[in-house]
Structures are given as structure tokens and as C-alpha cells.
Symmetry: C3
Subunit: 285 residues, 3 copies
């Protein structure tokens, strides 16, 4: 093993207070030649599913790397600290709460799993073995572990092998397709107010025409939306359905926030119902 | 050509969701030795003028570099994807909507322009030629193009020459100077609440004394402001006019937000009228 | 002297507008081989104490480095621009307002102090000596100074020695311990809503059992809190007292924001009173 030049880093810490930075400082101490790439530190607090989604989407665009991901509401409990090796050769480091598994899948699949051992990680990293907080394993355990793996330390020197089958998984985001409608969970509101759905665009039938848009179990107005290729195909104020850059169905309004206009939040469920006779209409090749 | 070590990067993406990071990951894959410097990813959504202003101000402080800038409400339409070469030797990469031109000027002027060609960019970057989204050219086109240019790829290998005269320009921010007053657009509210105006300080006449401050076409109270050298020259609660660090006229209140106090927002127009007999009074040499 | 590879960087600028980036650009021009690590740029505007706390906490986790810290409400006045050398060998660069001293202490103590000289800094950095703004010494003075020190420039080439005793200090955060109660200032609200107190956990007596929690001089409800080891030891909605990752007393609620629940803000004072007979109860070893 020759190690990794790149450590990608994602958390729900935010940049205030230096919590991200102190992890980066620890990594720079343990493995000075590694470069840390910040995926995001704005994962909503404790939102493991949102973190898993971002990690799964972004990791494959990096060259093989160590990916350190920390959304860890169970810190200090018996939840296991993981190092996972993927088929592509990447390592994923973080808590055993489902955060890492979709990314492992996106990196070719899980090849092996280890449970990090605090004293051995800190010993190898030449850090005081007994100075471990109960609430900040990011700094005290995961960062040195990620840096050691980047430096080609053998996982078995700092961790114990685990059964892959014992890893905790998160529930996948909900979607359901029937003959003339789909119901799917809102998995993302981006900075532009675009609404990302759990439904893959390949499963939208038909992939053209117009749909009725309703929010399930909320007292919100219904909308009509037209399938388009990009924002600019929409008229002013018109709601569009499109294939977003991750291949998912998404809703947008041109030069405005669809989420705000429709009062839609992450986690809600959206029903799309085919409007009879509309198929193909409005479809921009 | 020997390539560039530095890629500067500015967007309106925000850090949430990994949209910035995936671009950086693509650049690291195409050109591992380039270092990416983040100018800002908090450009207001779709605000091309604000992005152009930041880019124009910051780029010249970098050594010659590739500057990747993405504020691109027209993504997926026929707006052209650009690579511009400047007299100083920098490249600017981004959409043809006026975002890049003020920076080109600040870097010594525009020397040549190319229109990026998606298949050639992706071919050179060894990315799948057919997997290009309609809504995220930052990841799929501009990032690999910037990384290729940083790696000394000849622009003509990935783009077609364009007429410089055909480039789209933004309207410059408004200001007007008459014998005893100026009207100028608010071009920036910074984190401290200081109010930046489109008027260059060199055109404030006289550059001393006191002025009446009014917001044009808004029902807001009038203020009196004194020309000072720095915040600390102001009394508590006093409004000051000063030459900001970009050489522009700006308004500030000591240890408080002038924008909040005056209810002023970006885009409003501010009239400054000389108060007779005040000239020189309060001017701190 | 062989210089430093690392410059850590903390400000209250925020990322919008490129103010952070232009400093980084200047440093890259003066010392291309230095790597800049961002500690945080979200220090509350002008909050020297908050900046000092973050700096003091984070710096020691870096290898010896130049630490550039800018929370500088007195910019443009006669407040002195500093370079401090610490016992560990680090340099601290920033304004003379108390921001740097706690970090110097955390880095082994202050060994020497210099007052930066603007013309000599700019001369050594090959920057125009006369183009110095009154409001942005971060870009015009401190960044080139930090980069020069990273490049092993002798401090005496760009600064004049100062009496350490003349440096301005901030008031330490308040706390007071009596036989059955403590009063201490809230020094931090983190992104999770945890409430950090000025009281070191080692001074909480007893370090177990239950306490009455009151906010001094505010009309807010009282709470009861139990000393626990980590968030997960708490029941739903229960308030806990714990030793945070910096060794301070802190208050948390499981999977919720304690600060929001208790309406507590930074700067308030919290009284903790021992509840008789509770000692040891609820203490998780």
C-alpha cells in the first residue's frame, strides 16, 4: 500500500468555533502530505440520511481517497467507529449509523470492514492514549484514524475486522410508482430552492408531458408541472419537472425558489399524477 | 506553456450538498497538482453583477492562475461556455453572461476568447462524453475545462476561437456626479454592514466635509454623514463616509451595521449632497 | 530558521465578497509554498473574546505554524499590529487587542513580541509601499507579514521589538465557585445548541449528581440538570451537564438545542446550585 494523497471531509459541525479546523489540524500533524478536501460541513445537524446522500454523490468524483464523514449523534455511546474499504480502493471512516454505506456502494461496493480501536489509533498517531473526550471523537479518534489510513497504515494495526452484515443501515428514501402516479420523498432542497425527489428520473412514466403535483398529507395548494430539460425552458413562474444532475426527478421554477413557492420541505412526500392527454407536450428534445 | 499551479474558484452554489466539492473533485482528478483557492461560494443566487464585482476585485491579488467562476442562471441554454485569456496571462473560465469581463479588464485586458466545446473538453479530460447534465455544467464542463487549462492544454484543443466583440456584457453599476451631489447604486453590503457605493472615492467632491445622505425613491429617513479616514474616527452612532479598501465611497457606523441602521439594501440608489460650508470639517489627515 | 509550511487563518470576515480569499491570494503571492488552513471565518463580528477562545483552542493541534488571526475593530487607529513568537516556536500575527494572547499561552507561552512596520512589511513583500487602505490591514499588512514569517523572514526585518508587558489583554471570561454553587459566563453556543461555560469541569464540585440551573438576572425558568458523560446518557428532553471536549462544563439536551430550549445566549451568566442528596446519582462511569 502506498497511501493516499487526498482525504475528503464531511461533517455536520459548521465552520464556527474551529471544530472542523481542529480535525484538519490533527490530520496535518499525523499525515502532513495529505490534502484535505472539504465536501461540506453544513449537513443538517444529526441528519444521517442527508449526510449519506451527499457523501454517496460526491465521493465517486474524487480519485481513490480516504473519505472522513462525521454525522454522529451517537458519539460516546457503544456505536462502533468504522473504517470501510471499498472495491475501488477507497477508505471510508466514520460512525456505524448508516452514513457510510451508500457511498461504499457508489464506490464499487464494500470489500471489508473494521472497527477502530481507540488506544491503537492514538498510539499509532503518537497521541496521548488517555485524553479522549466523550463528545468529540471527530478530533480524538476519527481524524487520526483517517490520517493514518491515508499514510498507508494497515487497518489491522488500528482496528479489528468486523462482519459486514452487522453494519447498521439507514432506511432508503421512500418512493413508490404506480400506473399513473408516483409518490416520493423530498430528499433535498438546494440553494436555488430546487426540490430533489427520491424518484430516479428513469422511473418517471412518461418522461414527458404534464403532471399534477400534490404534497401528501399537507394542506397545500396543488400545482401543474411540465417536464422540461433545463430551467430556462420554463416560462416565468411556471413549475417544471426535470432530470437533475444526479439523475433524480426534481422540481424547479425559473429564477425563483420552487421550495419557497410550494412551501415544500425536506422529508415531505410529493405525489405526481399524469395529466391525461398531456404526454409529450412541452417536451424539449 | 507550463500550466498553472493555482485555480481560483467562485460560485453561487453555497457549500451545502457538495456542489462545490464535486467540482473540486473533478479538478483534482483531471489536474491533481493544481491547488484550488476558494474565492467565495456565497455569491447571491444568480446575481451575475455581484459575482463579477467580487471576481474583478480578488483575481488580481492572485499570481497568474486559472479563475473558474460560475454564476450561471442560463445553464443548459445556448449561452456560450467561455475560456478567456488575459493580458497578464490568466485564464478565466465561466458562462458568457458578463461575469468574467470586469475581471479580464482588471487582469490587464482581454487578449483572446474561446467557446468551450463539450465533447472535446470531456474527451481530453477522459470523462464519458455523453454523460452531461443539463443543469450542472460546473461539474460536467467548466471544472474539467479549468483543470485542463491549468495543465497547459492548448485552448484550441478544447474550444473554438470567438470574436471578443460578441461577448455579453453586464450593465455597469450606476453612478452620476453633478456639481453638488452624486447619486450612486449600492453595490455591496459587507458582513460588517458597511455600505459600498458604485462611486469611486476619487470622484467624491469635495473628499471631505459633511454630506446629506438620502435613499432615492424610498421612504426612508435622511442622514448626515461626515467624511472620515476609518471607522474609529467616528463617534458612537455617527454615520461616516470613507474610501473603502477597493477605492470606492462607502458608508459605515462605528461598531454597528450601517445597512441595518439605514435600512439600505444592495441595488438601492443613494444620493449624497454637499452640506454648504462643511468642507474640510471633520477631515482626518 | 527554515520557515513554516502551514499558515492557519481565522477572521470575522465571513466568506462573502472575497475578503478571506484576497488575503489568501496575497499570502500565495508572497509565499507560494505555504498551505493556508482555515480555522474559521465566522467569528462573530468584532467579538475579540470569541476569536481568542477559538484560536486558543485550535492552534495547539497544528504543527508549529504561523497563525494569522484578524478580529480587528480598531483597524486604522493606533492599535499596534503584532507578531508574537511562542515557546513552541509558532508565530501569531494580528492586532494588539487581546486576540492573540490566550493562544500564545496555549502554545507554551509568549517568548517575544514585535510591532509590525507597514513600509518594511510591504517592501519585503515587494508590494507598493504607499497603497495601504485604512480599513483592510488584513490584506495590506497582516497577510504579507504572515507569509513573510512563514518564509523565514526575520521578524526584525519587518517589525520592531516590543515590551511584552505592554500588550493589551482581554478580561478573562467570568466564573466564580463557592461551597455549593458556581456562577459562570456562557462562552460558546455551538452548532448543536450546546452551552459552553467558562467554568473548567475540574472545578465543578461535586462532578456528579444533580444541579439547579438558573440564568442570572434574566427572567427565565429554572431547570434541573444531571451530570452525565455524553449526550446519549440523557433521556429525551432531559438537560445534562457534562465535561465538553475542551474540558469545560457544558449543558446539553439530547438531539435538541439546549440554548434554544433554555433561551440562553453567549455572555449570559449561569448559576449551578448543588441539589442536596443528589451527589453521585446519575453519574455514569
Amino acid at each position: 500500500m502506498s497511501g493516499f494523497d487526498i482525504i475528503s471531509f464531511m461533517t455536520d459541525f459548521g465552520w464556527a468555533g474551529g471544530y472542523v479546523s481542529v480535525c484538519e489540524a490533527v490530520m496535518a500533524s499525523v499525515r502532513p502530505q495529505a490534502r484535505v478536501f472539504h465536501i461540506s460541513h453544513e449537513v443538517p445537524v444529526g441528519d444521517v440520511e442527508a449526510g449519506a446522500l451527499t457523501l454517496e454523490r460526491i465521493c465517486p468524483s474524487f480519485p481513490p481517497a480516504v473519505h472522513l464523514a462525521l454525522v454522529d449523534p451517537g458519539v460516546g455511546t457503544h456505536r462502533r467507529p468504522l473504517a470501510l474499504m471499498t472495491a475501488r480502493g477507497d477508505f471510508l471512516v466514520g460512525p456505524d449509523n448508516g452514513l457510510l454505506l451508500p457511498a461504499a456502494q457508489a464506490l464499487g461496493g464494500l470489500r471489508a470492514a473494521w472497527c477502530l480501536d481507540i488506544p491503537r489509533v492514538r498510539g499509532q498517531a503518537r497521541m496521548a492514549v488517555d485524553r479522549v473526550s466523550s463528545t468529540f471523537h471527530g478530533r480524538d479518534l476519527f481524524s487520526p484514524a483517517a490520517a493514518l489510513l491515508a499514510g498507508a497504515t494497515d487497518p489491522s494495526a488500528i482496528a479489528s475486522p468486523m462482519e459486514v452484515a452487522s453494519l447498521i443501515q439507514t432506511e432508503p428514501a421512500f418512493y413508490e410508482v404506480t400506473w399513473n402516479e408516483t409518490v416520493s420523498q423530498v430528499i433535498e432542497i438546494d440553494r436555488f430552492g430546487n426540490i430533489g425527489l427520491a424518484l430516479p428520473f428513469a422511473q418517471l412514466v412518461p418522461p414527458a408531458g404534464s403532471f399534477l403535483v400534490e404534497v401528501v398529507a399537507e394542506d397545500l395548494p396543488e400545482w401543474t408541472a411540465r417536464v422540461v430539460r433545463t430551467y430556462a425552458d420554463l416560462g416565468s413562474g411556471e413549475l417544471g419537472i426535470y432530470c437533475d444532475s444526479w439523475g433524480q426527478v426534481a422540481l424547479a421554477v425559473k429564477s425563483a425558489s420552487a421550495a419557497q413557492l410550494l412551501s415544500i420541505e425536506k422529508g415531505m412526500r410529493v405525489r405526481l399524477t399524469v395529466i391525461a392527454g398531456s404526454s409529450g407536450e412541452g417536451w424539449v428534445e
